[in-house]
Symmetry: C2
Subunit: 294 residues, 2 copies
């Protein structure tokens, strides 16, 4: 009976797998967090939780929003497989195949940021927008982008964290934390990069000079998105954005950088924090499953 | 009779309006160049040429690929109007309305780079691609982008020339030629910027150091496009790309900058010069008209 049907999903992050089950109305009826260790341990513990919480025959859809790089092409034989070596030991793990086997139903998978973007466009800060971007500013930096009715970067996905940035005048000597790029967004403005300069972001006072550096770089990112895609909304999420003073600094730096060149929506409307907070990824994973492969 | 029907178009550049008429097979049967002066003079001379070359009732479609910024939204009351002040005296000129009146048929209008991109995707260097970018590197720098079945940046268009770039180590003191941005692609790598450093690009020997600076900046642009959109092809056109040694330098700089982070098509396939050369804009304008407003 449809009122008993469940929609499952995993927000598969690099340190935690957040698991959830929603009912037909979309309300979350159960959730659970699995710490990430080895692929074998993590996947087994995750599948065990789902099988323990689902009556046979009641799971209707299942979606995964995962860290990457990951194969997100439904036409690919390795659809759902972590690629590259961004996270040690996980390269080659096929998340989709594992959960299709464990749960005996088709699984839809996309990037964590595409999941969060879908959730924000469906229920959150980008609701009603025809085009939008979700940028996560955490240990790494990545973006999900949507325009013309679908995610961008297909059949792959963006790797927006690695665009080149102009150095902040007060940051000329900082050594990028990205092992690949001395000049990229992730190497200069991720939580790891802030930590390398000044310690844990949670402990930094609002008047620490590193915040203006971070705001300058994240404004350059918002500027690049605006000048390339003209999205209706840019949602900035992830751990660094938990600093409540950061978003207004980014908007100010964005306006200064744009220099009045372009008519655009006021930056307070254009650039915003998530409406769904920390839950965007899990809600997005469940929504990905409900949408299915398109 | 359909074999006598003509398809017209204008590649409306900042210094020249290239006018053309194609037959039903797509072959160009007449073309003409009008130098750009005042809007009144330029538009009158252009319309006069078309009316003198068209038998009554034989013009079937008409398209314009124009310099910008320009309103490209068919649902807008000012669709086809030059906006902003990029070209003195032209702000507020409605190209679409003028030629709809002069030629008595609907006119489809888009940016010059979207026109060139459409031509390259239909008949040129990006034929068969599902996603592609066309970047013009001329007096200014702009890009047309296509993914998910349509141009990106809708209902407006990209302003990609104004993204921020990391300075080349040998270019730290150069003053950007962009009046809005001290750090943007157009301000650092357009023909105007090259000329401000070293004189006319046509006269520069291949071993002049400014070419490596230009290659570095254009590689950063290709890198930004790749990491944001993952286009199947990036076509680099415009006056600066007429230097035959430049494209291979850009590919080399791109590979160095990417640092092996991402699996991507070989840069010699990914980044290329136009297949249609100088004609892409005019062919694109005619194709825009044939496609109509979508």
């Amino acid at each position: 009976m449809s009122e008993n049907m469940l929609h499952g999903g995993i927000d598969a992050g690099g340190t935690t797998f957040k698991c959830g089950l929603a009912d037909a109305s979309g309300a979350l009826v159960a959730s659970h967090r699995v710490p990430v260790t080895t692929p074998e341990e993590t996947l087994a513990a995750t599948a065990d939780w789902f099988t323990a919480h689902i009556e046979p025959g009641t799971l209707k859809t299942f979606g995964i929003a995962s860290f990457g790089p990951i194969d997100v092409d439904p036409r690919s034989a390795s659809y759902g497989t972590i690629t590259g070596s961004a996270k040690s030991g996980w390269s080659g793990t096929n998340l989709r195949a594992h959960f299709e086997n464990a749960l005996a139903l088709p699984v839809t998978l996309d990037t964590d940021v595409n999941g969060a973007l879908l959730a924000e466009m469906t229920l959150g800060a980008a609701m009603g927008c025809a085009s939008a971007a979700y940028v996560t500013v955490g240990t790494g930096i990545g973006a999900g982008l949507f325009a013309n009715g679908g995610f961008l970067g297909r059949p792959s996905h963006p790797e927006f964290g690695h665009i080149a940035l102009r150095r902040h005048p007060g940051d000329g000597n900082f050594e990028s934390v990205c092992p690949f790029h001395e000049d990229c967004l992730e190497g200069l403005a991720s939580v790891r990069a802030i930590r390398a300069r000044a310690g844990s972001p949670e402990d930094l006072p609002a008047n620490h000079p590193v915040w203006d550096i971070a705001a300058d770089y994240l404004a350059q990112a918002a500027r690049a998105l605006t000048l390339t895609l003209r999205p209706e909304r840019i949602v900035l999420g992830g751990g660094l954005m938990l600093a409540p003073h950061l978003i207004s600094r980014i908007r100010k730096a964005f306006d200064e950088q744009m220099g009045g060149y372009l008519e655009h929506a006021p930056s307070a409307e254009l650039i915003t924090t998530p409406g769904l907070g920390d839950n965007a990824g899990l809600i997005g994973a469940i929504l990905l499953g409900q949408q299915g492969t398109q």
